[in-house]
């Protein structure tokens, strides 16, 4: 129904509000997609978005957590900040998991939260939560807007901080009266951040030192992390590694920074990494870490980590250098700038054919393995089959757990920025909404969400978004009827006491997909799966594929907690 203007009332004079200023600022930042959910405290902002609806696509997720994970997926794949809007109180607190996830995995996000009006902040008003207090430890920076004239500058600063240096999430908390009230059309948006001057240029002295060590190192190895991709330095990494014949291990988040099928690629290192990558890190005499943060899941017991190596660490965040592992050659720099400068400084390296042969011997003797039951499906086989049909070129997202590790092991990425996973925080329910964001960033690409049956049930309400936007995301549920990694640890370390880890009751995922107007399939054997795959991937629309896999499969090889990189179990069948 249209509201008609009453005759006799004065024509409404269009005055600009804080919300209008916000929208103008977003346009200036070239934002084209917003992920969000409306509510009381952001009504003025949503009204301004409505008026500017030609400028943005707003993705209405069905839960704020879905919005922020989608923004993370978008940011990881596009390299641009993901933008999220949520209301005050519960809207903001529903974002907390995603903010913490983006913080620990260094994803650029700019998050706008509504807040109650300034006059009632601190009175326990309706839908009030201390968003500044809650988000301070899990953001790169946060703001509460106190004067409407500050808003354009704060938005500009927020985008700058989120996307430069080590990327991360920035929260801007906007009281409702700030966004609702009219404001003057004059403001200053120039900013000066004297306390934020990320250093991106490497110190030539340290690089020379690294070049010198490289000249004599007999067992050098590169560890490539996500920082290589944040710096768009995959090409430079490849050139550097090839020039000096340096074997490359990657971290979980660094998958794709170096081509998975390259002769110098050792695969992923860490708790469920390859035997060869872990042995290389254990035995090396020179470890060049580029953009990885020596996470505990990578290093295992620190006492046994690269015990005889000279450690060089290239990282844009100085606080990461020397945090966990004693570093001999610290290089605070953007990965691209460091690798470019290194190509100049490091001219030659010691001959180390023996080392490469030694590692390739490991690779031949101890490849990744699983027992293929031929008829029934195991998860590793599912991932390999999907890898084959997509030629290893899809964008792949995952949750956390067994399916994540298998995807990391068996979906070898040749290209950077195609792997979207929750690494540091290990967030269940991340993969599916992240796939939505990734698909929106790359509409032409094949996007696959490998999810567990547990994780999918945490955020599956976002199927509505697939339906609404007809996003051709392929959701592949690696369904073992269990919280697989929990079950595996209970089997291994808790004498098979499967406490609350078996999901006996599940929805019918095919009917569920159907109820959202999405194609759903269920398969429980290899033959049907192979028959189905071409149909799934040739169809230009969303699919939910419920793959019933054997429950008892465990992820191997493995470094048990507290053990070193050289103490892997399950290396051979």
């Amino acid at each position: 129904m249209k509201v008609q203007t009453k005759p006799g009332t004065a024509p409404r004079i269009e005055t600009k509000t804080g919300a209008d200023l916000l929208v103008e600022s977003l346009i200036k930042e070239k934002v084209d997609i917003l992920f969000g959910y409306p509510g009381g405290a952001v009504l003025p902002i949503y009204d301004a978005i409505y008026k500017a609806r030609e400028s943005f696509t707003h993705i209405l997720t069905r839960h704020e957590q879905g919005a922020i994970h989608a923004a993370e997926g978008y940011a990881r794949v596009s390299g641009k900040p993901g933008v999220v809007i949520a209301t005050s109180g519960p809207g903001a607190t529903n974002l907390v998991t995603g903010i913490a996830d983006a913080m620990i995995d260094s994803l650029p996000l700019v998050i706008f939260t509504g807040q109650v009006a300034r006059g009632v902040i601190g009175t326990d008003a309706f839908q009030e939560a201390d968003v500044m207090g809650i988000t301070t430890p899990i953001t790169k920076h946060n703001y509460q807007v106190q004067h409407v004239s500050d808003l354009p500058r704060i938005v500009k600063e927020a985008f700058h901080i989120a996307s430069t240096g080590r990327p991360g999430p920035v929260v801007v908390d906007i009281p409702k009266d700030i966004s609702a009230n009219p404001c003057k059309d004059e403001y200053e948006d120039d900013f000066h951040l004297p306390g934020y001057q990320p250093n991106i240029k490497p110190n030539p002295l340290q690089l020379k030192k690294l070049a010198n060590v490289l000249e004599t190192a007999e067992k050098p190895v590169i560890l490539a992390g996500a920082g290589v991709m944040f710096g768009s330095a995959s090409e430079e990494l490849r050139t550097f590694a090839e020039k000096h014949s340096l074997p490359v291990a990657t971290t979980l988040l660094g998958l794709g920074s170096f081509p998975g099928g390259h002769p110098l690629a050792l695969g992923m290192a860490g708790m469920h990494g390859t035997f060869t990558a872990n042995r290389a890190l254990y035995e090396c005499d020179l470890l060049i870490n580029i953009g990885a943060r020596f996470d505990d899941r990578l290093t295992g017991n620190l006492q046994h980590f690269a015990p005889s190596a000279t450690v060089a660490h290239i990282d844009i965040d100085p606080a990461e250098i020397g945090k966990n592992v004693t570093t001999h050659i610290p290089v605070v720099s953007d990965s691209k700038a460091a690798l470019q400068a290194l190509s100049f400084h490091a001219e030659s390296s010691a001959e180390h054919d023996e080392w490469l042969q030694h590692l390739s011997g490991y690779q031949q003797e101890n490849p990744l393995w699983y027992k293929n039951p031929v008829k029934e499906m195991v998860p590793q086989w599912v991932i390999e089959a999907v890898h084959k049909i997509t030629n290893g070129n899809a964008i792949v997202t995952t949750d956390v757990g067994q399916h994540q590790m298998w995807a990391a092991q068996y979906y070898a990425f040749e290209e950077p920025d195609r792997w979207v996973t929750s690494g540091g925080l290990g967030t269940m329910g991340f993969g599916f909404p992240a796939a939505i964001g990734a698909q929106l960033a790359k509409p032409e690409e094949t996007v696959i969400a490998f999810v567990g049956d547990g994780g999918f049930q945490m955020t599956l309400q976002e199927l509505s978004v697939l339906q609404e936007r007809r996003l051709p995301v392929k959701v592949i549920i690696v369904n073992n009827g269990a919280l697989g990694m929990v079950r595996q640890w209970q089997e291994t370390f808790y004498e098979e006491r499967y406490s609350e880890s078996l999901l006996q009751i599940q929805p019918d995922f095919v009917k569920l997909a159907d109820s959202y107007g999405i194609r759903g399939y269920r398969v429980d054997n290899q033959e049907d799966f192979l028959d189905l795959l071409p149909e799934v991937f040739s169809y230009n629309g969303p699919v939910v594929l419920d793959c019933r896999v054997l429950q008892q499969e465990n992820v191997y090889p493995m470094i048990a907690p507290g053990k070193g990189l050289h103490q892997m179990i399950g290396v051979k069948p």
């Binding site: 500044m132 207090g133 301070t136 430890p137 790169k140 920076h141 946060n142 509460q144 106190q146 901080i161 951040l193 004297p194 306390g195 934020y196 250093n199 240029k201 490497p202 110190n203 002295l205 340290q206 965040d317 100085p318 606080a319 020397g322 945090k323 004693t326 605070v332």
Partner: protein, 174 residues
Amino acid sequence: MRRIITATVQNRSGVLNRITGLLQKRQFNIESISVGRTETDSISKMTLVVEVEDNQKLEQLTKQLNKQIDVLKVTDITDKAIVARELALIKVVSAGQLRNELQGIIEPFRATIIDVSKDSLSIQVTGKPEKIEALIELLRPYGIKELARTGMTAFLRGHQPQTTELPSYSLLNR
């Protein structure tokens, strides 16, 4: 080891919370923290006295502080030539006849009596924390009713001896 760290920060709301939250998150023990304005309007200075295990932890602390957007500069001044002061207010039980005795005790400390009531008197003392500790110990037998300390505030002396090699935690590659 006990370290004295100064941080120059932008005087913005939440900055103290940011610093203390960060120290708590990374499990650093704060012995004292004092904050106040500086000669520049928008800038405050904090003096933190912290207890850290080793140099690696100390480096991590200064680096994490430096990472904060509102933090302009972090300096570990423990081993430098510094002026460090703290102020304490001490309320002591005191009947009339003891006042002269107390006066005698506090005089060498250059402390002053700033409030007197029928059965107590309040003493103000400034100086290095060790001096304040010493005075507190001397006054304890008389019965301390109340004690409030500001925590240490400190800065570098105008002249630094050139001979000592001072550890530097600068983040810039020079």
